[in-house]
């Protein structure tokens, strides 16, 4: 799918006026000293700016291609606080639209997913094709007499829609760099989840949604680089599922933080550490069995990441856990609330009973009822809520772990740091956040991590020696 695939009628999507950045951004963090202000989790002014400068310009996850196999298939999701309909077209492309009628603004689709031949607003019966065009309405001749041109009143399209290896993203900014540029060299790592054997991935089960009263950045930074919390937070779940405590991962010298332009992955190389928490030896056997062919395709190093003790966040708010295969977006609903959308991702080529085990295992461990996730909710909420305190908000948070761990002689792309118990990825996340918050447009956003890999690095179907 072409990256600069503007959905067709960008003039139908008014852009927000570009506002001046907040004047105090520099006081919100000192990344060299390892300090972060709590205001980033609490202030309404910061949140409103995030809607414009972070979410209004970044590539946000919309769907997996496998959720929309046939033309007319649609689902409703969010891009930050905007409800968006994502629909497979007759020509097999995917388009996305704001889920709001251009007449009086009513929500257009009240269902989460389905298949349809058109979208009809419940208010006045305005009818839109699956391509977003306004087909007509009762009393059409009156509108025409009033000078209305139907082609100017279709559903508002998301400015850009593009895919990377099964993941469909949208961007509200027609001037944003392409998805491939946005992901950059981080695609080298994403291929560990998305391209193990050339047959791609799919979602199984369905989307499970829940509400957590926390700022979206709290869980995003947890997934971008925080394995450290697992030792304490998840001790009870580890005992329940593994019969013992979480492995002392900070002692593992062969573990890493890697990040590229704010996207981050922390991991070790034990192949099955995360998957083991599902308590299902069939899943571990499956991963051991495919690891050699992944090594042939992606190299030995990456093949050891496929289910290892690890976590990842794609900036800004798409996270996943290899091994447990839980895939989620932290959808912001104000500075102190999120809607968590969770899916389970599997290789298309995996045997059906392995996919079924993953569908159940991911929910057993990481869902609102998940034995691991259950202890995260309180951490996320109270890390946010404590900032209601005026004096609490004047204090800084520590984010300095691992400042001395950068590896300079490595062949791995991006910024690489030794030891996965680290806060390097946190600092990289906030650096990117601050760069976007300080910019009036993409032209002012610095490219801190230029690509070092050519596009052929992400095409693995050529024979490797």
């Amino acid at each position: 799918m072409s990256d600069k695939d503007c959905s067709g009628s960008c003039h139908r999507l008014n852009q927000p006026p570009s506002t001046e950045p907040l004047p105090y951004l520099d006081r919100l963090m000192d990344l060299e000293q390892g300090r972060l202000s709590r205001r980033v989790y609490w202030d309404h002014a910061i949140y409103e700016q995030e809607l414009e400068k972070v979410f209004g310009r970044s590539w946000l996850f919309l769907a997996h291609e496998s959720q929309l196999p046939s033309s007319g298939d649609f689902l409703v999701t969010s891009m930050a606080e905007d409800s968006v309909i994502v629909v497979r077209q007759k020509d097999k492309s995917i388009k996305a639209f704001l889920n709001t009628c251009p007449h009086r603004g009513n929500k257009v689709s009240f269902s989460d997913a389905g298949n349809t031949r058109q979208f009809i607003c419940n208010y006045h019966g305005w009818s839109f094709g699956i391509d977003g065009a306004l087909r007509g309405m009762a009393g059409q001749e009156l509108f025409e007499q009033s000078g209305m041109n139907k082609s100017e009143h279709g559903l508002h399209p998301v400015a850009q829609v593009a895919s990377y290896k099964g993941l469909v993203f949208g961007n509200m900014d027609p001037n944003a760099p392409s998805l491939d540029e946005f992901l950059g060299d981080f695609r080298y790592y994403l291929d560990v989840m998305l391209d193990m054997d050339g047959q791609g991935t799919e979602f199984v089960g369905a989307c499970v949604k829940s509400e957590i009263h926390c700022n979206w950045k709290v869980p995003a930074e947890n997934f971008v680089g925080d394995i450290y919390h697992a030792l304490w937070t998840h001790d009870s779940a580890a005992h329940a599922m593994l019969g013992g405590p979480v492995a002392p991962v900070y002692k593992d010298p062969d573990s890493y933080h890697v990040n590229v332009n704010g996207h981050g992955w922390e991991f070790n190389l034990d192949i099955v550490g995360n998957a083991a928490t599902l308590g299902d030896k069939e899943i571990r056997k499956y991963l051991w069995s495919i690891q050699p062919q992944v090594a042939k395709r992606l190299g030995e190093f990456r093949s050891k990441m496929i289910g290892s003790i690890s976590s990842c966040n794609v900036f800004p708010n798409l996270s996943f856990l290899p091994g447990q295969n839980t895939f989620r977006v932290w959808q912001p609903r104000g500075p102190n609330k999120i809607e968590l959308h969770t899916w389970t991702i599997v290789n298309k080529s995996a045997p059906e009973q392995i996919k079924e085990r993953w569908r159940k295992g991911a929910m057993l461990t990481f869902s609102p009822s998940g034995v691991f996730e259950m202890d995260d909710g309180e951490n996320f909420e109270f890390s946010t809520r404590s900032n209601a305190g005026f004096l609490a908000r004047q204090q800084d948070l520590y984010m300095g772990l691992g400042r001395d761990t950068r590896l300079s002689d490595t062949e791995l792309p991006g910024n690489v740091f030794r030891n996965q118990v680290n806060e390097a990825n946190h600092r990289a996340f906030y650096q990117r956040w601050k760069d976007l918050m300080a910019a009036r447009s993409w032209a002012e956003v610095p490219l801190r991590d230029s690509p070092s890999l050519g596009e052929e690095a992400f095409k693995h179907d050529e024979v490797r020696a």
């Binding site: 009240f110 269902s111 989460d112 997913a113 389905g114 298949n115 089960g205 369905a206 989307c207 499970v208 949604k209 829940s210 509400e211 957590i212 009263h213 304490w232 937070t233 001790d235 009870s236 779940a237 005992h239 329940a240 599922m241 308590g279 809607e339 079924e356 569908r359 159940k360 929910m363 057993l364 869902s367 609102p368 009822s369 034995v371 996730e373 259950m374 202890d375 909710g377 309180e378 996320f380 909420e381």
Partner: protein, 176 residues
């Protein structure tokens, strides 16, 4: 669900016994009687609480279905692992303890084709209070298959349907 006209209600004495069973089960859950609660399940228990989707009436897929999203899709081993976590001293979300109330109502019981199995419907209110102001209320319906083994009732199948499609709770540290 069986057609309403085909339902054969159990007699008053059996209904009384079944109601007492469900109310005792609720009291065990209110008082963290985890092991006694697990002992009420048969070895082949399937404990299922599907996630709910909003779909139009014409959509044959419906709001929920086996094989799609679920909060619980458990066999006996899975339930025992959840309980193992509750009993860990390091289950931080349980310390200080959550206060639970399970209200069970609308109990109806019908014979099935299997002589020692009964289909039982009930409605519930599940209310949890934690800390100072964290209160979560969930309502729903349950459809159970209760089986009589060695003179005692046990739960062989439970399907729980809550009304929320977006779960307004940060976690589900409870059973239904």
């Amino acid at each position: 669900m069986s057609a309403v006209l085909d339902e054969r209600p159990v007699d008053a004495a059996a209904l009384q016994r079944i109601s007492a069973f469900l109310l005792r089960e609720a009291r065990l859950l209110d008082t963290e009687g985890w092991d006694e609660w697990l002992a009420l399940m048969t070895e082949d228990i399937h404990y299922w609480m599907p996630a709910v989707e909003n779909r139009r009436r014409v959509d044959k897929l419906g709001a929920w279905e086996p094989g799609r999203g679920a909060y619980f899709d458990d066999k006996h081993l899975d339930l025992s692992r959840r309980i193992a976590r509750f009993k860990q001293p390091t289950a931080w979300a349980e310390d200080p303890p959550t206060r639970h109330i399970h209200v069970v109502s609308n109990i109806e019981a019908f014979h099935t084709e299997v002589p020692n199995e009964t289909r039982v419907y009930s409605a519930f209110v599940n209310y949890r209070s934690r800390g100072e102001r964290d209160n979560d209320m969930l309502l729903g319906r349950r459809e159970d298959i209760l089986r009589e083994e060695d003179g005692r009732l046990r739960i062989a199948r439970r399907t729980v349907r809550i009304t929320q499609s977006l779960l307004l709770s940060k976690n589900l540290n409870t059973f239904f």
